[in-house]
Assembly symmetry: none
């Protein structure tokens, strides 16, 4: 691992130009950045006449179909040069770690925590997305950026920054997005599919659950119920509920947001989200759950109302000067 | 009106450089783009030693405090050169129309539907935000872009594109955002304040209006009402309603989203948003309104239900094979 050689985009490009056969690896539970990076590089190398395959540890969600198209991502190429994109640690190769973990020839990444496991490393720790590093690599390869590559680049830059909303977005992220759009990225469509599309069912469900919002401790705590009755007449899939638990925390003045989800078996799933100082994990641990400081959860075997009030009371320790 | 002279950024800059006193006008119900444009230009001209005031037809929401700071926007300067930013039509000057409508010296705008009411017009109809045109004007003025100007530019570019999410976003929007961040725009803070924080009132209001959603033409058209009754018991500011008009279009399968807002005077304000092919501006023009291809509006003096049905019927021309 100590033999890892740091590369500039030009040096990484020189290594790739020598290859005939390349296998590109992406990380497990693939997200927009690893997929976009992989697909942009795959098409760039193919356009140069090389044999290239993308190999993914896990199936790629249909949402990303717009950049992946009909690629077979289930296998790599034999005897090929191995490139990992957006993979900070060989453990993130999941089921592919055993096969490839020890023999990655080139890693392109943007995680400062990169484990330096590859023979060569093009690392841009200051970038919000790996795609920004891949964009530099494509330029160094001297290839014309086609719309399909541009889609990949844009997908990574936008998904890793919450569509340019998060604080990690830099001037460079916008610069690369600008170049991707110039090169033909279908950004309107990508954003609609990834960030904007809500099903009519979700719309109704969201409206119903928002009506249950209650506030405590001078508005610093918001509580929302997802009762079984909110599902009435709706055929909502689990995947349509993404982000519902974040709603209470996005309200002005709210430090900690709680959602209580009544489950089919009568138990309640509690989710906590906090902004600045409430340790969500610590609170959920008191009820046998856990998680991260700003996002945690637990399960309670009681009524939604009792579950909600138990959590809200526990949260009170963080607001000693406010009344319930 | 036929005497309106089209200007390049250099020509508009030359006109401004001659002035000692400038009053900048923004449009009624001021949004991020008109405020950001106005503030960026105000600070640029002030830095050049000119006397400048921003004059707003309506109070500026506290949310925009980050760029407006303690500016007094309630009055213009006497005997000054008058510049309107992001004001497509003198009627959009609201209560200031009578005073200024006939004597705007320079208009900087990005609406293709601009009424050409000003003596000079710097129009960039292909831009997503007026701030992009203002950015070019600042460059032409030869001024150094300070963080407070950069905040204004970023605010306009981000708010008019739903934080770079809508299809109207172009390579140039990202380019200008990139330059604004380089110049010191506090984009992380702006995005948190504008895009992430929702007031409790807005949460209730949103929930109420979503309940009115109706679908037409096989789900390709969604219609939502903002009735006066939805405001009941809520003290919602205009600025808290930003983005409400976009909701119907974000629903899966929806090509065109319509919102009908019942106004206090009994008239209805219609907003149209489209995804791919419905020309929102063309439809709104049939009812005396206008705007952009993907976002337009008009006013109707009838009941909300009749207004909604009139628009939905007009939209039918784009879906000849679907029944209502």
């Amino acid at each position: 691992m100590s033999n890892c050689i740091d590369c500039t985009p030009a040096q990484a490009a020189a290594l790739l130009l020598e290859q005939e056969r390349v296998t590109i690896l992406i990380h497990r539970h693939p997200d927009g950045d690893t997929i976009g990076s992989g697909m942009a590089l795959l098409h760039a190398l193919r356009d140069m006449g090389k044999q290239v395959r993308l190999h993914s540890p896990d199936p790629i969600s249909k949402r990303y179909g717009l950049v992946v198209e009909d690629e077979d991502t289930t296998a790599g190429l034999e005897n090929s040069y191995v490139v990992a994109v957006d993979v900070a640690d060989p453990a993130l190769l999941g089921r592919l770690e055993e096969e490839y973990g020890h023999r990655v020839d080139l890693c392109v990444d943007h995680h400062p925590s990169n484990k330096r496991y590859a023979k060569n490393l093009l690392l841009r720790g200051e970038y919000a997305s790996c795609c920004e590093a891949v964009y530099e690599l494509l330029l160094a390869l001297g290839c014309a950026i086609t719309p399909v590559m541009a889609n990949g680049i844009y997908l990574g830059a936008s998904t890793d920054t919450g569509c340019f909303r998060y604080g990690n977005t830099t001037a460079n992220t916008h610069y690369v997005a600008s170049k991707a759009i110039e090169a033909g990225a279908n950004h309107g469509m990508i954003n609609r599919v990834i960030f904007e599309t809500v099903t009519p069912q979700r719309m109704v469900f969201e409206s119903r659950v928002k009506e249950t919002l209650q506030y405590f401790y001078g508005g610093h705590c918001a509580l929302m119920y997802q009762l079984q009755s909110a599902f009435e007449g709706l055929d909502v899939e689990e995947s349509e509920l993404e982000g519902i638990s974040n709603i209470p925390r996005t309200i002005e003045g709210v430090e900690v947001g709680v959602t209580v989800r009544e489950q089919a078996d009568g138990s309640c799933r509690i989710s906590l989200r906090s902004s600045d100082f409430v340790d969500a994990s610590e609170i959920c641990q008191r009820f046998g759950g856990g998680g991260h400081k700003r996002a945690a959860g637990c399960t309670m075997h009681t009524t939604p109302e009792q579950a909600g009030m138990s959590i809200v009371k526990a949260i009170g320790d963080y607001f000693p000067e406010e009344s319930l």
